[in-house]
């Protein structure tokens, strides 16, 4: 009887926890430094944490709040960006982490500074919070003055009632999301570029409120969305959760707890503050990330294979065949060449629809899925050097300098021209040619 109760209790526990979100997925174990949290904000967050009444319990309680928020979102199957920050604020209030919603900024700064979340989620939360604050700030604003050239050829003919219809249903940011609704609205628009799109939207918002299709509150909300560039965020919650749930550390049994490499936080675009990891989340779905990571996994398996061979089945009646066993270095080189081939194949595949891939995408994906660890990353990155060797800058400058100096020696008076030329040749042989990597083609003992 006692055992039956125990089994029932365990089943109940499993049932209750089946919906619970695995909060450790959110912890930052991929970014060695934060690109988003500035020094001042970090100091402020630390000071906030130090004077917090929860003291040492702050971290544990924050995790509980995060767990509740994400479990609720998961249960509702909701991926609303604004809903995320609203829910987190509510749970933070519930656990006594903050006294009022305005303190959420300090709270998310604390979450990032203590690595309970990563840069991508932090930026997403900060963007959502900025939009919510802008919506709040605009409450009660009056209708602005009429924009110039209100009716344009591109969007003059738009049916405003149909255009604003989704917004009139007022998204609750639980089941229906404000930002998603705004996206679906703007999809109907025609525009030349980002700036043009924003101007067109402003004109349409104005016409909507003037022609009483939307009320002033909705107008202000739409303007807040436009002003906070919600259409141009590098990453949205839906994309983030997709990769976190379905790809992050999925190909390793022992995920790292801390990142030691700078590669994931290297800037791909400094102007837009997009990192290698950010670009991966931005451009690919979890399925694509797994496919990219598997290319690296397969390459590692090929390198590690006990043996690899080439087989020729001769075109003769006896059926004679020849098997050539590759040496370890041939196996290594073949594995790298096949990696490049795999990249070409996956680019042409339906799943990637001719997307241009580069090697960094693969590495970022392999790192995200946990196949490649921080320690190994530096060496895995060198694979590309095999088929795409880069001339270091110093070598390019040195070549240029040597070519100039070579011409200059021609004009020196004897015997300096001869001495100069000899000195130059010596230096060039030592500096430029001395460090040349051997070519496998020079090795008669290998075929590749």
């Amino acid at each position: 009887m006692k055992n039956l109760f125990l089994v029932l209790a365990m089943l109940l526990f499993l049932l209750v926890n089946a919906d619970a979100f695995e909060v450790s997925l959110l912890f930052n174990n991929k970014e060695s430094i934060s690109r988003e949290l500035k020094m001042d904000a970090r100091k402020e967050a630390l000071a906030w944490a130090l004077r917090h009444p929860l003291g040492e319990e702050l971290s544990k309680t924050s995790i509980l709040a995060l767990k509740d928020t994400f479990s609720a979102l998961e249960k509702r199957n909701s991926n609303c960006d604004l809903g995320l920050i609203l829910g987190l604020g509510k749970d933070a209030l519930k656990y006594g982490l903050i006294d009022r919603f305005e303190e959420v900024t300090s709270f998310i700064n604390y979450l990032r500074s203590s690595d309970l979340i990563d840069d991508l989620l932090f930026r997403l939360m900060r963007n959502s919070l900025a939009t919510l604050n802008e919506i709040e700030r605009r409450t009660g604003h009056k209708v602005p003055i009429r924009p110039i050239n209100l009716y344009t050829r591109l969007n003059g003919g738009i049916n405003l009632r149909e255009f604003f219809d989704p917004m009139n249903k007022i998204p609750d940011d639980q089941k229906t999301c404000t930002i998603d609704t705004y996206f679906s609205m703007t999809n109907k628009l025609s525009f030349k570029n980002k700036e043009d799109r924003d101007l067109e939207l402003y004109k349409l918002h104005y016409r909507g409120v003037r022609e009483k299709i939307i009320d002033l509150k909705t107008f202000n909300k739409l303007e807040a969305l436009r002003k906070t560039n919600v259409l141009d965020w590098p990453l949205y919650f839906k994309q983030y959760t997709d990769i976190i749930h379905n790809a992050k550390d999925k190909l390793t049994k022992k995920p790292e707890t801390k990142s030691e490499t700078h590669f994931p936080v290297e800037y791909v675009s400094r102007r837009e503050r997009v990192t290698q990891r950010g670009r991966l989340f931005q451009n690919f779905s979890s399925t694509q990330v797994m496919m990219l990571a598997q290319i690296i996994q397969r390459t590692a398996q090929r390198m590690d294979a006990k043996q690899a061979s080439l087989q020729w089945d001769y075109n003769d009646p006896i059926g004679e065949r020849e098997i050539y066993v590759l040496s370890p270095m041939e196996q290594y080189r073949v594995a790298l060449k096949m990696l490049r081939k795999d990249m070409a194949e996956i680019m042409r595949s339906e799943a990637f629809k001719n997307t241009s891939l580069d090697y960094d995408h693969l590495i970022a994906a392999a790192y995200e899925t946990g196949i490649v660890k921080s320690d190994d990353l530096e060496y895995v990155l060198k694979f590309e050097d095999f088929w795409n060797p880069k001339t270091p800058k110093w070598q390019a400058y040195a070549r240029f300098a040597f070519s100039l100096a070579g011409t200059a020696t021609f004009y020196f008076p004897p015997p300096w021209n001869v001495l100069g030329a000899l000195g130059l040749i010596f230096t060039q042989t030592k500096v430029l040619n001395g460090n040349q990597r051997p070519d496998a083609d020079d090795n008669w003992n290998v075929i590749i």
Binding site: A300, M303, D304, V325, S327, P328, M329, Y332, K373, D375, D376, Y379, V380, K382, S403, G406, T407, F410, A421, L424, I425, F426, Q428, T429, N433, R437, P438, A440, D442, N443, W444, N445, V446
Partner: protein, 408 residues
């Protein structure tokens, strides 16, 4: 003639060092900071006989004799026997303490033969005395016994042995070709850059002649002749340098293997590695591995360096920069330092402790069918890394890069 001063010196040191003292013997060792040698007094561990070089782990004998060398033998022989005994004891200590080798721990007593010129005969232990006597080298001998059909009076049974051949001065030219001398090599390295430079210069002159003909005072053909002359001179110098071999080598070659400490380490390493590395394995691989452990014990960049009066053989460089060539696999090149340099690169890549273990472990994975440097050796090192490296994935990637730089 070179032998005379060192012989006098040796005699002086010996007479002062071994003046009746039974517990300390004159031993030739290298200085800690250089490859220079000196003779110092050392006590020999684990001697079980009070009158001869018969120890718990080693017995030093002369030639085919089975009696250990007595302390009242000639001073030169005492020096040689004591030096070998001392370095073998050091080597044993290294294998047991540093390498944690069970093989070394369990190795039965080894007979060490000095001044033996007979060839080794797998069926009879010693080949006949008149069969091409051997000099200037050393070898390790696997245990064995004569077959049952051998007559009773010639029956023999022996354990693991190390043989040191007598030293003999031979003319260097009799050793055959030793490859291009350093001057030829240096000039050959300069040939291509010089050619490129001259072509570049000629192009500049050509362009000047075409576009700024009025400003050029010297006709183009004069420069062309100068450039051609320079190239021809270079070719002549390269050809000429081939006749300067004498400048770079000594007239005679001699090697008293018992008096070169690293050769003793090398031969002992063969005994330890022979539990897995049989004679059927590639000679460059087997020799390279023994060289590696000799180099580790010597703690010197250049191993087997000259020992005045005893050896003028050239050293092996652990940091030899040459790239892999298929000729490195041939038995003819088994005495080159290429395999040693590959293994030393592994040491620099993985760190001393890990690399020593990886290379020792690698012998388990060497297979006769693929016992080559480029295949068997590399494959077994990579496999051993799976077991002994701290982070196998990372370290193997580092190894691939190392091997790539070595030209594999």
């Amino acid at each position: 003639m070179k032998l005379r001063p060192i012989s006098i010196l040796t005699t002086l040191v010996l007479s002062s060092a071994y003046g009746g003292s039974e517990d300390k013997f004159p031993v030739l060792v290298r200085k800690e900071t250089s490859n220079r040698t000196h003779i110092i007094k050392k006590s020999l561990p684990d001697l079980i006989d009070l009158e001869s070089f018969d120890g718990k782990h080693f017995k030093i004998v002369l030639g085919k004799s089975n009696r250990s060398i007595r302390f009242d033998e000639s001073q030169d022989l005492i020096l040689k026997a004591a030096t070998v005994y001392h370095h073998l004891s050091e080597s044993r200590k290294f294998w047991i303490n540093d390498m944690k080798s069970d093989v070394a721990e369990a190795l039965p007593k080894v007979t060490v033969r000095l001044e033996i010129s007979n060839q080794f005969d797998e069926l009879g232990h010693f080949a006949n005395d008149n069969r091409a006597p051997q000099f200037n080298n050393a070898l390790s001998v696997p245990e064995g016994e004569t077959p049952s059909w051998v007559p009773q009076e010639r029956k023999d049974k022996w354990g693991k042995e190390i043989w040191f051949r007598p030293m003999k001065k031979i003319l260097t030219k009799d050793l055959g070709t030793l490859g291009p001398n350093p001057m030829t090599l240096a000039l050959k390295r300069l040939e291509n850059p010089l050619m490129n430079y001259l072509l570049g210069q000629f192009n500049v002159r050509l362009m000047e002649n075409i576009f700024y003909a009025n400003y050029v005072t010297r006709p183009l053909h004069e420069d062309a002749i100068r450039y051609a002359g320079t190239l021809a001179l270079m070719k002549v110098m390269i050809q000429g340098s081939k006749y300067t071999d004498k400048l770079f080598m000594e007239k005679y070659y001699y090697l008293d293997t018992a008096m070169v400490p690293e050769i003793t380490y090398h031969e002992y390493a063969h005994l330890i590695l022979s539990d897995k590395l049989e004679m059927s394995h590639s000679t460059p691989v087997v020799e390279g591995m023994a060289d590696y452990f000799a180099a580790v014990q010597s703690k010197k960049r250049k191993v087997y360096a000259k020992v005045p009066g005893f050896s003028n053989a050239s050293y092996k460089d652990t940091r030899e920069k040459s790239k892999y060539s298929h000729w490195d696999e041939s038995d003819r090149n088994s005495s080159s330092d290429f395999t040693l340099s590959v293994l030393w690169d592994v040491r620099e890549t993985l760190g001393e402790e890990v690399a020593d273990q990886v290379i020792y472990l690698a012998r388990n994975y060497l297979r006769t069918r693929s016992s080559t440097i480029s295949d068997g050796l590399l494959r077994s090192i990579l496999r051993a890394c799976d077991v002994a490296c701290k982070s196998p994935t990372r370290d193997k990637l580092k190894l691939y890069e190392t091997f790539r730089w070595k030209g594999f």
